[in-house]
Amino acid sequence: MLRVEKLNAWYGSSHVLQDVTLEVNRGEIVCLIGRNGAGKTTTLKSIIGLIGKTTGAVSFEGKDLLPTPTHARFALGLGYVPEERRIVQGLSVRENLRLGLVASPEKKREAELIAKMAETFPRLAERLDQTAVTMSGGEQQMLAIARAMISGPKLIMLDEPSEGIMPVLVDEMFELFRSLKHSGTTILLVEQNVELALGLADRVYVIDQGTVVHSGGAKDLLADPEIQERYCSV
């Protein structure tokens, strides 16, 4: 479904990704793990189109992504939950959800889809008309996920959704990912918490210093403390 081949990316003159190659198949949960600054976030940003200079090839359902403008990648069915959530401050919860639909053909079903999100995320339901600033980090994360989900993307990419969030909420969130997978959504997840990630994912890529250093089934990596130790310990 998503195929990344020899992806290179630069921030100004610093070459942060070197020949990253990975693949995500339909219906899978794939996890990118690795230390802080290894290049996980940059990989997701390159796929969604937020990095100025990239080379290599990224294709999504056969469509070449790198020459495609960022906004047109959304139309192909790519959803993205950025690091630090990026909820638009000053807008209400409902407006943030509407923002997830402004460019979608699903926009005409806005009321119905917002009601559906409110059902999936009861915490948001109570706060639909509050400004997003008043919410806790966990609630904002839920909102960021709901905003990406509301248009029904085929592949959803999440950048460290568990960061800084209460364990109870993290469990809830990971349960949601499992049910998303069951309903046919493919997930590419960046996660610092290796144990959590390995418990959820089908396959894993370990990224270190801007390149993929290991890939395999989540269960195999779970049984390989050496690799975990070498690339993932902080």
Binding site: G49, L50, H71, P82, L91, L99, K107, S151
Partner: protein
Amino acid sequence: MAGLTLDLIALQLFTGVALGAVYVLLAIGLSLIFGMLTVVNFAHGAFYMLGAYAGLFLMTQGVNFWVCLLLVPLLVGGIGLAVERVLIRPLYGRGIDYPLLLTFGLSYVIVELVRIGFGKTGYPVDTPELLQGAVDIGVGYFPLYRLFVIGATAVILFGLWLFLERTSFGLIIRAGARDPEIIRVLGVNVRRVWLVVFGLGTGIAALAGLLAAPLQGVIPEMGGPVLAEAFVVTVVGGMGSLLGAVLAGLLVGIVVSITSLFAPEMAKVSIFALMAVVLLVRPQGFFGRAGLMS
């Protein structure tokens, strides 16, 4: 100072609001464009002047004032669209000074073109027949046309508010002013939004020029001083804040007209004195976010 009555001050207050209305319209366009595109539009005064001249031209061709109110913003807004698309767009991603210098130069070109087309001297513009004369507003007689300018500004602001608060495109503008990256990820072609916002801002500037024309006539250089004053308004109100632009615009109008009642020679200076005081107390302006430029 003999003969200074409360009624006179109240009347002057109304004059200030009418003057402020023109500032508000200009400042709101500047603020919209800056908040969304981070373009400091130095050609805004030239678009204001173009609005006044476009109105004058159309009226001498027999088009009536009320139709001009519709045509002029469309016409000049259209020129604004072309300017954004052709001249400003290639400069995105560079420093804030690139579009600033470009629009600064552009304003000279526009003024010169108008001088070539209409001559260097100004023209008076007739007040539309329906709006001539004065009405009693309780504290004295007030020119009907000024009352109309205040009302028209209120209608435009209300329309703009509806557009921003109640439409999807307005939602995109409000979100995009805070985080342009996230709206791109959510499928919005942000360049198209910038184009529309620039056109909208210049269209409102043109409307302000048209409304001001019967008050002060037209002259090719009319955009210069008023642009400086509109910048003061956006700075006092807070760069990028629409509510700030409205309140500061009215405040500046009132300060100018009250000052000109007591010390006419101080009227122009009073604007900048007001700005200095506000910036000393609150560097980001009434509703601005601190550190916007960093």
